[in-house]
Symmetry: C2
Subunit: 496 residues, 2 copies
Amino acid sequence: MDTLNQYEKYLREISKLNSAVALLVWDQRTYIPKGGHEARAEVVGKLSTMAFEMSVSDELGGYLEALERQDGLSEAQAASVRVVGKQYRRTKAIPATLFEQYVIDRSRSEAAWEEAKANGDFALFKPHLAKMVDYAKQFAEYYGYQDCPYDALLDEFEPGMTSRELKTIVEPLREKLVPLLRRLMEDGTPPDGSLIEGSFPLDRQHELSLRALRAINYDFEHGRMDDTVHPFTIGIAPGDVRITNRFIETMAISGLMSALHEGGHALYDLGMPAELHHLGLGNGASFGIHESQSRMWENMVGRSLPFWKLFRRDLVDVFPQLSSATAEDLYRAVNVVQPSLIRVEADEVTYNLHIMVRFEIEQALFDGSLAVADLPDAWNTAMEKYLGVRPSNNAEGVLQDVHWSGGMFGYFPSYMLGNLYSAQLLATIKREIPDLDARIESGDTKALLDWTREKIHRYGQIHEPKDLILKVTGESLSPSYFLDYIEAKFFPIYGL
Amino acid sequence: MDTLNQYEKYLREISKLNSAVALLVWDQRTYIPKGGHEARAEVVGKLSTMAFEMSVSDELGGYLEALERQDGLSEAQAASVRVVGKQYRRTKAIPATLFEQYVIDRSRSEAAWEEAKANGDFALFKPHLAKMVDYAKQFAEYYGYQDCPYDALLDEFEPGMTSRELKTIVEPLREKLVPLLRRLMEDGTPPDGSLIEGSFPLDRQHELSLRALRAINYDFEHGRMDDTVHPFTIGIAPGDVRITNRFIETMAISGLMSALHEGGHALYDLGMPAELHHLGLGNGASFGIHESQSRMWENMVGRSLPFWKLFRRDLVDVFPQLSSATAEDLYRAVNVVQPSLIRVEADEVTYNLHIMVRFEIEQALFDGSLAVADLPDAWNTAMEKYLGVRPSNNAEGVLQDVHWSGGMFGYFPSYMLGNLYSAQLLATIKREIPDLDARIESGDTKALLDWTREKIHRYGQIHEPKDLILKVTGESLSPSYFLDYIEAKFFPIYGL
């Protein structure tokens, strides 16, 4: 067997372990009885460690070294050596003892965050957060970077992205978005969102989400939707990508929107050929590109007028009490803009502003201009500046997100990039499928899915995000498409 | 770390792999989407192979060898060395190449059986069955035995049981049971079973089974019940033992009885201390003892008058159309005796006769007095002799059970032993808890559970079944308790 075969066989063995871990985790968050948690943690720990050890083994290192010098690799094989090799080197760069200590401190940090958030008490979390920042700084030195340590962290989530480049996107976006929001709020007439509030039995909401998933071609022969506390998407295997959802009794379509969001992630994963999974390229080009696929189905489809012209019938069928609402009413009701304190509840206009607050803070933490102790103030000040609202306590402020407690710095920009990518992609799609709206309205959502499969999904991680977006849209990422999309959509809704 | 610690740690690593495999299999039979099956088979294969390799490794052999010579082991530790060592030697005894070929031929045999059963065509299955018998004969030689090869197979399911001993139980049982059945059928007045037939929505049946499981103290913090094609019990971890169930729309309590049966298995598994699980002693004393626990809750509780005095209220609450049925009516309706062709549909009186047919045939296959080609005739003749019914085709005859296609010879007697053990145990229980019936009628099923936990469950595999039954009931296994139980129960029901 030649090196390439051995390498591919080795990756498949890792992916089998990861598949088992994914199912164990899925069960942990869906169906496991309480009494199973303790033993489960140990089983997940064992299999994760085995997969981790395989991913940093000298055996893998040997294959990579040989293949990096080998000619005649296919595009996918070469990408595999690049992507797997990069992750191999990043992981190997961290001394084992440092990483072990990090893992221990990280679970303490996550536990402390949970308690701190429940009590709105930043002081409880502060020492742990300081440790997490310190680890991330050390890791950044080990990973290496050109300009600044933060770039080394960003690269984990958005390969090839730098702080400098991100600023050239964020700043013009912010300059337009803050006044745009102010104009909507001060001069616009808000739509009536109360229409879709009331009492909506959870099992009916579940049924509605299933219908929505069918409407966007999520294939239940290759996935499922189960109820859980936090919605998520999880790939168990190339042909088995599951989502979970949660429903709020008073809100008719909150769960539906989550279903479309997670469904978008799942469609991306299901659109990658098994061959790429087997080469370790089955994770999506980046977190940002992944988010572009979920945002596209959630916002650009799910909050569009054509979708509600199509889907109103199902909504009314499931909730007859909404039968007097027109498609236009529903479209307006799902597009209320309201600056709020909580990121995960934010609408399309304000969402990116929440991210900017976090991005700004992360940069300042890593260039040394902001101390952990000063975080709450920095947070509240930025919220007021960009969104015009100020948290009255840290639970609805700096403590609201789990990410930092787990050492995930550089993750937040992915959400914003997802919004921007999806708008830029949509502009291209509308050029290439001029009758997209009419198709969606008539139930033909397949045209859009096929386009994303052909242009994005089938490449998996073969291309870095910047190359992919250039290849597909003909230009580099620009915030102008998102701004145009927001203006074109929300000014009419707000009567401007 | 001393050898004992290393040994225990090693067993825990195996049990983590087995726990992952159990969850993967549970999901395969419950929630996996169709597209997940192909990859899943490979993941299960990998982890099972890893666990298998650990269970026959030289490392484990070394620990066992050292511990077999070590003094001062606790009762549980010594039992662990005996049970794990026995399995180690049995597995090691089979040459690896022979076992690999067996595994391949076994999947072919299982597939052939499925097709043969669907077509009622024994000829399709015959060559595969012959191969399976031949493998089992070879394995028996490798395992070793005193009297006859069949003993080596029996020992897998009922440690310490021999063909000779089993005959001393089966023959007197058959001598009484065949005429007893004839008398019931010829002289008795059958109860009205049509009472609980009709149309019973599956989701209500599901609810009814949940209530029955709660009634017997199955703890949903340590388990769950999910719908599937064939009911089964599966231990994912010491604190997580799940059951599955299936429901038949026309039969009000068929699923309920399955729930009690699987619930009985699960209660046994949950009653074993985690310490025994960690020592590889968490599987029950034998298949027969395990079956005694499921039969106890299904038949001796679930088909008893006190239970229906207790549970009638729930039944009527779930199915108001049954409100005119008294507890006595229900008790009689669930105790119709009817010789039939299919084992899994058999009642308490005829069930053991189905097993005798299989036991007789297995013995004859392995002492060489019966050829595989002559199986259908032998089957049909025995069915007619013991049960008075003759299959009109092989699908409802010799092809009905999956066991032989998977090479499981010596398994069937466990079902009968379970029935006999449970009757003998019940006699002891009624001596030690004289007001058992009154307790069950009043909802106190905990007294029975506590008794089985104290006398049986907590020992796991520490005792061999014959020692356990002697210790608990004061005598060796005798069929007389079962015969007394059947007479005392069914003669009054049949007006004799």
